[in-house]
Symmetry: C2
Subunit: 643 residues, 2 copies
């Protein structure tokens, strides 16, 4: 069972429980244990490094008589002395390395069951990057057939159903879709080691993202063979949950030390600059002169500490909603990784569907790639479809980028409005009407004052595209605003309505602002707090992200004015009384929902007759709600029986 606890876009922190009742937190790495070479004992992995899972090879165990006998007699967990989750591989990787293996799928599944594996693996066919499309497609059929067989045989053992497809994105996606329908428990993405070995990270992005489109969001995704600390943040950003590493030990035997910025040969290092518990207290010279076995162990431990350190950091950044930043930084360890980050732009649409409507804290620019984050794409999409220009004359303002984007020129904005012009700021991510300048992500973004050429050029292009799309009649610059304007306006009301349109759509906003409208503002800051429409409290504005929370009265207005499924999460009759009492809505009770819902978005929980029974914020996105049989779909704020 896999439960998502926290998320940041496609990335997630989850709790995975095996049928045997063992648990682990994801993202996590499975260190590879070669049962014949015990570089770091399994017990130490558990006790000293905190690894709650490992992977070992059932093919090697099966082909080593004494290991086979022992494993079948006492079970894998006792043989390895490891109380955590044990995953076994099937021999597929050996077939990639050495050609055919003498073994049937049924034999290896049966064997894995017999030794008490928690998660066994199908004998899938490793699709090499150089294969033709036909060859790949044929081999996928065999893999799927074998996976089906494994599902029938699995019993209490969980099953890895490996998604393959070489570098063909359509095959990757269709294979993933078919895997999603089978009774497997984990989704490894296989056949990617050669891409990583050859630094073909841009293609790896294609492979992961096209697979993710098809995979069941209810199951952890394992990027088979990925375990270098430098790639963990980026892979987690694309929604990978499991990783594994044999390199920690293999590199150690070759005297190669892993760091987040690359791998370095002991012989070529100039100093040992490591505070990890393994290295601390040792000089480079000492380490070089160490007896071979001791040295291998120390380097293996160092490599494991680098991995755990980075995984901890990845989890921290997911919790903080800042994983994009860590991934963008880590991708600068190698130009091929940076290229992969740029390639991810091709998947902006998919990423946007999972990107939260709001996050805590600032968005730090790290380079031109930052503009490609889905959060900025969404802003521009909504600006294009949900914004109404108050006047057809515009005054363009220079951005005070570099400082948090908050009301830079309030007086000048007002001067423009008096003269009949709508103030629009030319910000690094595009045009920002003054009415929207406090909402997430605009007010929370920090860009350097010296822009890169791409950001500068795009910002101007987007602004002029926007002006032309909006049918603007006249454009002036901020220093051309006449002093003697006499137009009347209510800046707060302009903001209140513009934010509502941006957040809920134009039709819904009109319903929420039925006259007479009164704005309650903060005595201290003057900022909007509540919107009272026709005597009823319909909206409250959050100070943190400048967005609204929707009151039940507001929800009623919207359901009356705007047809389904807009903003709706419709639940079965059984769930109605619970939601009405303010309890959260779980995925299995949802019958229908608006496909445009994003995580952290305000939603209206409705019964089958479209009566609003609660308001809250979405946690899962529609694709997940549809696919997942459990998990919180909506965090309900208040239900109709509460009031």
């Amino acid at each position: 069972m896999f439960e998502i606890i926290r998320r940041d876009g496609l990335a997630r922190i989850g709790k995975f429980t095996t049928n045997s009742g063992r648990t682990m937190e994801t993202p996590a790495l499975f260190p590879v244990i070669n049962p014949k070479i015990n570089t770091v004992p399994a017990r130490e992995l558990y006790d000293k490094f905190g690894f709650k899972s490992l992977i070992t090879n059932s093919y090697i165990i099966k082909n080593t008589p004494e290991l086979k006998e022992k494993a079948q007699a006492v079970g894998l967990h006792e043989m390895l002395d490891f109380p955590g989750i044990i995953m076994t591989d099937s021999g597929t990787f050996q077939s990639h390395m050495y050609g055919e293996v003498k073994l049937t799928n049924e034999e290896i599944i049966e064997f894995q069951k017999s030794i008490g594996t928690d998660i066994g693996t199908v004998l899938d066919i490793f699709t090499e990057p150089y294969w033709t499309k036909e060859q790949t497609a044929e081999s996928i059929e065999v893999t799927l057939e074998r996976t089906q067989k494994a599902c029938e045989m699995k019993g209490e053992m969980m099953i890895n159903g490996v998604a393959q497809g070489s570098i063909y994105t359509d095959l990757r996606e269709s294979c993933a879709r078919r895997m999603a329908t089978m009774d497997i428990d984990v989704h490894p993405i296989g056949g990617v080691v050669p891409l990583m070995e050859q630094y073909r990270y841009a293609e790896l992005v294609d492979v992961i993202m096209s697979s993710k489109k098809g995979l069941n969001p209810n199951r952890p995704v394992h990027l088979f063979g990925a375990g270098h600390p430098m790639i963990l943040a980026f892979a987690a950003l694309m929604g990978c949950d499991f990783f594994d590493s044999a390199s920690y030990a293999k590199f150690a035997r070759d005297e190669r030390m892993m760091f987040v910025d690359g791998t370095f040969r002991l012989a070529e290092m100039e100093s040992l600059d490591c505070n990890c518990p393994a290295c601390r207290g040792h000089t480079l010279e000492e380490l070089r002169k160490m007896e071979k076995g001791k040295k291998t162990k120390l380097i293996a431990e160092h490599n494991l500490y680098q991995i755990t350190q980075e995984l901890n950091l990845v989890r921290r950044y997911i919790r903080e909603g800042r994983l994009w930043e860590l991934a963008e930084l880590r991708c600068r360890a190698h130009p091929a990784l940076l290229e992969a980050l740029r390639k991810l732009k091709d998947y902006q649409d998919v990423m946007e569907q999972y990107d939260p409507i709001s996050r805590d804290g600032a968005i730090f620019y790290t380079g031109p790639e930052t503009r490609n984050r889905p959060v900025f794409k969404r802003y521009l999409d909504r600006l294009g479809t949900r914004y109404v220009l108050p006047t057809d004359k515009v005054a363009l303002f220079e951005d005070n980028h570099g400082k948090p984007y908050s009301r830079p020129y309030e007086q000048d904005f007002d001067k423009a409005r008096r003269a009949g012009y709508t103030p629009i700021v030319v910000a690094p991510f595009g045009p920002v009407p003054a009415e929207l300048d406090e909402l997430y992500p605009l007010a929370q973004s920090l860009f350097p004052q010296i822009p890169d050429m791409e950001t500068e050029t795009e910002s101007e292009r987007l602004t002029y595209q926007f002006l032309s799309m909006m049918g603007v009649k006249e454009v002036i610059l901020q220093d051309q605003i006449p002093d003697d304007g006499t137009e009347e306006f209510d800046a707060n009301m302009l903001r209140a309505k513009a934010v509502a349109r941006y957040q809920f759509g134009i039709e819904a906003a009109d319903a929420l602002f039925r006259e007479p409208v009164e704005l309650v503002t903060s005595k201290k800051t003057g900022k909007i707090r509540n919107v009272i429409s026709d005597g009823e409290h319909v909206l409250s504005m959050r100070a943190g992200d400048g967005l609204y929370t929707l009151k039940l009265e507001g929800a009623k207005r919207i359901t009356q004015a705007v047809p389904k499924p807009h903003m709706r999460v419709q639940v079965m009759d059984d769930a109605v009384p619970f939601a009405a009492q303010g309890r959260n809505v779980f995925a299995q009770f949802v019958t229908e929902c608006d496909p445009e819902i994003r995580t952290m978005e305000e939603v209206i929980v409705t019964d089958k007759d479209d009566n609003p029974i609660a308001t809250g914020r979405a946690f899962l996105v529609p694709f997940e709600i549809e696919q997942m049989k459990k998990g919180m779909a909506v965090k309900v704020r208040s239900g109709s029986s509460d009031e």
Copy 2:
């Protein structure tokens, strides 16, 4: 005494020795010890963290009767129980914080001497960033006067002569120049704390770089008040050697933890993801609940470990010649730092003078800022002045960027040449004639295959500028090269001459290639190894960077053909026999040298009559040779008496 051991551009690893015989390695940080609050005892700083230096405040000691008495009785080192180097501050920072201090410069200098300080500080005047230019200029005169007085009084104590100047670059430079002429021992750059507190890092770049232009390269430069791990790499890149930190303890009292990516409040952290010896084994919850004193100590230790870890890393990257990469990465911790990195482009000319002609290993692209590194500026400068087009027709090739830049299309190059066209590759850093494609930094640079807009645009602009400057008559693209060319050419000879021109200049290269010329090539790789001109071995080509080492016979040819000071380092009579025997040349024996010499460049050591007596590679640059009274200026390869 300050000895430079390794360098990477302006950054250096040095050994600093006080008059009292205590030593330390730079770059280094002086933890601040408040003699009244002993967060981490000085002895622990030395024993446990390896700090060989600290800074404490003589003003506070002087104003605290019991401390004053004890310090004067037993001396600072015994009072603090610290065997390393102790620097004391003078009360200047207190005057910045709280206004005037009741103290004269003479009093505080005398007091610092009386307590056995290793490095004392003048009571300089802290120039605030908001001061007028007049106010700043006047206060600098006072600071200089006081510094002069301190030099007269100092005795065995070393003296910090603080360079000031607010944000006025001309005042910064002139103050630094005057400080350089005085008998001080360390060059602090003062008055920068407010800039760092306000994230005005771009202005900090102006302040550091304009100061560096004037400061004596023979003395360590101390960036007063800088100690956050996120800024150390960048400041070291600009040639700062000393840092200090009071924040490690101050932040600890406020429960703020330093990391290379920023400072985080314990209360706001989501997890403790730290492997440092202080944190390891503790959970976030444990740390939060810890008794206040214990918690403060633990966080202070954590902060110190982050600093030592980063300083180790900075030293490692200097040794590896890769500090630009680390600094570029670290500057992505905050948009204001990235802005500062971009600001550094204004100082490309100065940076280029210190940038080595060659480095080991690849140059990794980390973002559009990478193109601003001085190494690429130099390439373009030399291409413009030292390259001769073999034909006036050019065939442009697309770059296979992303892969190491090495002979991507050798056969197509030859086809172009047969057809009478010179092959030129449009690389990310500009045009690269095929003859030069193996030399540093071209063959060693790794750029992503998906370029950023700035790099792409600049690459094209530079190529067309080059073509027009070279008077090219016809330009075709690689797929337009006719198949039926019949021109004869010697690709190796074209390369051999082009590299010689690029490295030594056109005149010198002509002298080195006096006919008949024979090229000795490697049997294994076919690459050029030696150049034999008119029967004499004049040049050898290094495989690593594709550049030549100059033989003494080659040096003779150059001195005969090209007037002084081109490539010369002229030494006094006393030094001639030593250099002739192959011994290195030290700065104090140099009487004159070519101002165009860069570090790692091939140079000719000559006597006063311009006779070549040795060849070797420069270690110091001309400004340093002129200013420094010691240190190796040329690493001699072979002298005239050797042969």
